[in-house]
């Protein structure tokens, strides 16, 4: 007999434990980013960082549809993608602080986390800069007879970069297993996307022969469902897809972007945070489905927060690379 909170119960075609994993991942991303903000505020982090808070359902819903050997490419706002693909927070924080224990030995920082073990081809600080890399990885998978799929994450700002269309055309021609995921969080830095984006976003995939779908990026279940379908299709050799996830970043373009009223209203921010929060809404659905309880979810959050704090402590205590590292790794 299954109890109400039986973790093997299947809801909407997915086992409870898997929904719970997604929940934990989303919380992990949010808590991770809160700590990043804290590190910035405490002046412990060199440089800046672009937080993923508000967009958690996108990375988690999509990476849940991926295997470990599948690839992703990420962006300047990349912490969520990296964590969702399986990166460990301690090595990520270490990277953000420029420490040797970081994923890139401190050489990459927030915008360049990369990790072969989890198929992370690297975050990228050039808007649209990873579209070619992702498409090339898909070509390699196909040519090498592997059925891995590559996901290319990018913000809607990257729709301004021509290279995206060059590679979508190629992916369609060669039927490559790559999913282009446009995270439309409404802003290119401090400019609303409607001022920078003519026509219809979905049409921009279709015009290059790439099937395109819109999805509510605040609904992890919807994101996962679409991602699974498109990833499966790609894995079977049916070619690329373009997925537009409508979402919102709750905080500034980067941690230092505090006064935002000249480009967006507090009211707009408030609405997304209260009515469309991906974590809250997912929690409400899960408890409504009765395979978990609010208390359990609260516990998860506590656990995750403690984990993040420990990871931060690890990173703070970790040593910097020695200066002689500076000219290592230029050439393989």
């Amino acid at each position: 007999m299954t109890t109400a909170t039986d973790q093997t119960r299947v809801i909407d075609g997915v086992r409870a434990e898997q929904w719970m994993r997604m929940y934990r991942r989303m919380v992990m991303i949010r808590e991770f980013e809160e700590q990043v903000n804290e590190l910035y505020t405490r002046a412990l982090m060199p440089g800046l960082a672009h937080l993923y808070i508000g967009e958690e359902a996108v990375a988690v819903g999509i990476c849940e549809a991926l295997r470990q050997t599948d690839y992703i490419t990420s962006t300047h706002r990349g912490h969520g993608h990296c964590l969702a693909k399986g990166a460990s927070p301690d090595r990520m924080f270490a990277e953000l602080l420029g420490k040797e224990a970081g994923y890139c030995r401190g050489k990459g920082g927030s915008m360049h986390i990369a990790d072969p073990a989890t198929g992370n081809l690297g975050a990228n600080a050039i808007v649209g800069g990873s579209a070619g890399i992702a498409t090339g990885a898909a070509l390699a998978s196909k040519r090498l007879g592997k059925d891995d799929v590559t996901v290319c994450f990018f913000g809607e700002g990257a729709l301004g970069q021509g290279v995206l269309y060059e590679v979508m055309n190629l992916a369609a021609l060669w039927k490559l297993p790559v999913i282009y995921v446009c995270e439309n969080n409404l802003y290119n830095e401090y400019t609303h996307y409607s001022e920078t984006t003519a026509g219809d976003i979905l049409a921009r995939g279709k015009a290059f022969g790439v099937p395109a779908e819109n999805v509510d990026g605040q609904d992890v279940r919807a994101v996962y469902a679409v991602a699974q379908r498109l990833v499966d299709r790609a894995r079977k050799g049916e070619g690329p897809a373009f997925m537009v996830c409508n979402t919102y970043r709750y905080t500034g373009h980067h941690v230092g972007d505090i006064n935002r009223e000249y480009y967006r209203s507090k009211q707009e921010e408030q609405e997304w945070k209260t009515k469309r929060d991906a974590i809250q809404n997912f929690a409400a659905w899960m408890t409504g489905q009765k395979f978990t309880e609010a208390a359990k979810l609260g516990e998860i959050q506590k656990e995750v927060r403690a984990e993040m704090k420990a990871a931060v402590e690890f990173a703070i205590g970790a040593p910097y690379p020695s200066p002689e590292e500076a000219d290592q790794d230029v050439y393989a």
């Binding site: 890139c104 401190g106 800069g129 301004g160 830095e189 400019t191 910097y320 590292e325």
Partner: protein, 331 residues
């Protein structure tokens, strides 16, 4: 000649003032770039311009560096005088075709009939913990290309005067601003002035060694010169201000006088600016030099994020001082 009245401005304010004055003077001058209007760029260099000149003249673009640089070329050919804003010099990579195959060549290829009076403003410099794709100093590339002029001011005064000259020039000019200098303060004359291209500024006179430095490295060289002074070495510090046209004469004459020279530039040391300037000096002052011309550029690595590593990669006062001291045989 009495100095015109002056006041202190930051480098960023000087840039903004040059733009505002030129936009008032000439209605054809306009600005395109990412987040240049209300945001005034992430560096806030352009704050206030859209309020004065409107969105017709300060245009926020999509993130399409190649596209809007190309539009700058076409607009410049047909009657506007665009100032194209490329946020980070690292993104020049995306504009190279428009800049090099189009802007730089239109005048020549058309037998002198079309002109491209466009300015491309961009940044250079590391040390902001921004990692490898937001820290490069790529001015050597454009200095290599005939048809382009290249300015890289080191003070607020020069920034204003050179930018006004750039905007009035009939040719494409690439204008480099060191991100780390935007808050640097310095005297700027009250009245109208411009600074001609191709005229180096001897920032400090000296007898024992010539240090040629560009952009923010001028400040570093001046700091090193103070340190050298203390050990009895008198350094002349020269800022060429434009890498093209290059004031070869002033550099060579100085080296002839001092008999020793060093070149400090934040671009990569190899196949870049230091090689050119060192060669010009080594050739022109050959019979006066008592030691090889010393070059110092950025370490030949992608700029690392980690602070202790990044700090290794850029010339500092201490390193310039040490190299100069060695060059003068005082080590």
């Amino acid at each position: 000649m009495p100095e015109a009245a002056e006041r202190e401005l930051t480098f960023a304010q000087a840039i903004r003032e040059a733009l505002a004055e030129e936009m008032r003077r000439d209605s054809r001058v306009c600005i395109f770039g990412e987040d240049v209007a209300e945001a005034g760029t992430p560096f806030k260099v352009l704050s206030g311009l859209v309020e004065e000149f409107g969105r017709e003249r300060v245009l926020d673009t999509p993130i399409s560096e190649a596209g809007f640089t190309g539009m700058g070329v076409g607009a410049a050919m047909t009657g506007l005088r665009p100032v194209v804003d490329i946020m980070f010099g690292d993104f020049l990579t995306l504009t190279m075709d428009q800049l090099v195959n189009q802007a730089a060549k239109v005048h020549y290829m058309s037998g002198g009939t079309w002109k491209v009076p466009m300015v491309l403003r961009t940044t250079l410099g590391a040390a902001r913990r921004s990692a490898a794709q937001h820290s490069q100093s790529l001015h050597a590339w454009v200095s290599h290309v005939p048809g382009l002029k290249v300015a890289m001011p080191s003070t607020p005064r020069d920034a204003k005067g050179l930018l006004k000259t750039a905007i009035r020039d009939e040719n494409p000019v690439v204008f480099f601003e060191d991100k780390m200098m935007y808050k640097l303060k310095g005297p700027v004359p009250m009245g109208e002035y411009t600074i001609p291209f191709g005229v180096a500024d001897v920032r400090r006179e000296g007898e024992d060694i010539t240090i040629v430095a560009t952009s923010s490295m001028v400040q570093v060289a001046l700091g090193a010169a103070e340190m050298l002074e203390k050990i009895g070495v008198s350094a002349e510090v020269i800022d060429p201000r434009t890498t093209w046209p290059l004031d070869e004469k002033t550099l060579v004459e100085s080296a002839k006088k001092t008999s020793r020279a060093m070149v400090v530039d934040e671009g990569y040391g190899r196949y870049g600016v230091t090689g050119e300037i060192a060669s010009v000096i080594a050739e022109g002052a050959f019979y006066s030099l008592e030691a090889p011309v010393k070059r110092m550029g950025a370490m030949h690595v992608p700029i690392p994020f980690s602070p202790p590593l990044e700090d290794m990669t850029v010339p500092t006062e201490q390193r310039v001082f040490e190299a100069a001291r060695t060059l003068c045989g005082k080590a």
